[in-house]
Subunit: 269 residues, 2 copies
């Protein structure tokens, strides 16, 4: 673990990341000493920092820190947090506050192998995501909605919970982005009012664009979701999981999802 | 500063308060070795912990820690944070996670004395509060909305920013609760969709009930706010500030606010 470039796992209780969730984060998968899609993660980090008015640390600095970690931990989950820093008491950010960089490392989770091939069982969460356009899309540290949603079930056979927003639109999984296939068209929810726009979502959109597959970012509800030909979830750690079961609906065939998965797993950075 | 009862100002980077804003807090005013309205603050802390499924630390334990701090710091702002603790990676809270108690101390702010007597200049924030009934009222650590709202202005002559919700209802100040007086009736916004229900709001409601002043918790918009006979803001640190100026409207006379203020400042705990 690194805090501002130094070995350590402690931060000040005055860090605005703790006080207000005033920061952003990324979760990367490292294999064989290589952090997958780091340039894409950095671009997202930059955009998220801009959206919150946090000075994004330099790419060279963060890359050097990441490389140091990869030497010791060639395989694992690398979590990067950038907070606005420390400051005087009060919500208003000090203009001169220096962002704080935090790296943490975790073992790669060992999900059942058939979740990626035969699909997962998903559930619908009761929590509805709030509409906040000024925070939508950003991977920020205000994640109580995700915590409450993830606390709704404890059946280890259910791999992910899906979230609707206050208007009943399908948005995402608690820790993944969602796609569905409808008559050959790929659809993924619009994230202008809530949700997190992850890197793998962007990669799937890129896959569609480069493979001539029609793709739409749209608003849709539960009925359309359950009527989909295929449904799948993506994030940097799980890769792609097709959905095999949701409510009364079952799916057994994921031709598009499997093509996307292959590309996600093998396309260069 | 105390972390779990020990002198110190550091926490782990795996504290869920940092990772997800998974915790709650209180801000108390201490004068002459006495923390004002601690029992009321503890009750709110307890309610907020229950709402998030966090095991609230025992009142005896927290009171002992507070008393230790008051011996060394008889006057100041005491901030208490309770987070869900540390745990494995992932949003789902571990069932056995032990909450972490954090106390910090700050000097009392020196606001201009006439803000409490002649009133403040307030502004209307552009940020609109999102509707999330599962988090409404709770003083939790997901405070990016407050941060973004407080970042909207830097004119030191403006003491507070007022917040509307997505539907245009008046909700609160960035760090205070709001009351208005309309033809002898006291009104304060309903906080079932957003906002923080502070201790001083509860005390004002108690003042109204014990003084036979009609009082309503209601939904109202900006037009009604600007048509108010009086407008005032409360929190544990500022006490009560009447509003002297908001947009094109000015107020010069605060008979009800001054009565409430006197009672807030002098009523026993």
């Amino acid at each position: 673990m690194l805090v501002n470039g130094k070995q350590g796992n402690l931060i000040s209780i005055r860090n605005r990341g703790l006080l207000y969730g005033d920061g952003v984060f990324r979760t990367l998968r490292a294999t064989g000493g290589h952090a997958l899609h780091w340039p894409l993660h950095y671009r997202k980090l930059q955009l998220d920092c801009v959206a919150l008015g946090i000075a994004c640390p330099d790419v060279g600095l963060l890359s050097a820190e990441l490389n140091d970690l990869l030497v010791q931990h060639p395989d694992g989950v690398m979590k990067l947090i950038v907070t606005r820093g420390e400051g005087a008491r009060g919500y208003a950010p000090a203009t001169q506050s220096a962002p704080i960089r935090i790296w943490d490392i975790f073992p790669l989770p060992d999900y059942p192998a058939d979740w990626a091939t035969r699909g997962i069982k998903a559930r619908l969460c009761q929590l509805r995501l709030a509409h906040q356009p000024q925070l939508a899309g950003i991977k920020h540290l205000n994640r109580l909605e995700n915590v409450l949603a993830a606390a709704e079930w404890d059946d280890a056979g259910i791999a992910e919970g899906l979230l609707l927003d206050m208007s009943g639109n399908v948005i995402e999984g608690t820790r993944s982005n969602l796609f569905m296939v409808h008559s050959g068209t790929l659809l993924t929810p619009e994230l202008t009012h809530c949700g997190v726009a992850g890197t793998q979502r962007e990669r799937v959109l890129e896959w569609a664009a480069t493979h001539g597959v029609p793709c739409r970012i749209a608003q849709f509800g539960l009925a359309e979701l359950l009527a989909a030909d295929e449904l799948f979830l993506v994030n940097s750690i799980i890769g792609l999981w097709p959905v095999r079961e949701l409510q009364d609906r079952e799916w057994g065939h994921f031709p598009v999802a499997m093509q996307v998965q292959k590309w996600l797993n093998h396309a260069p950075d």
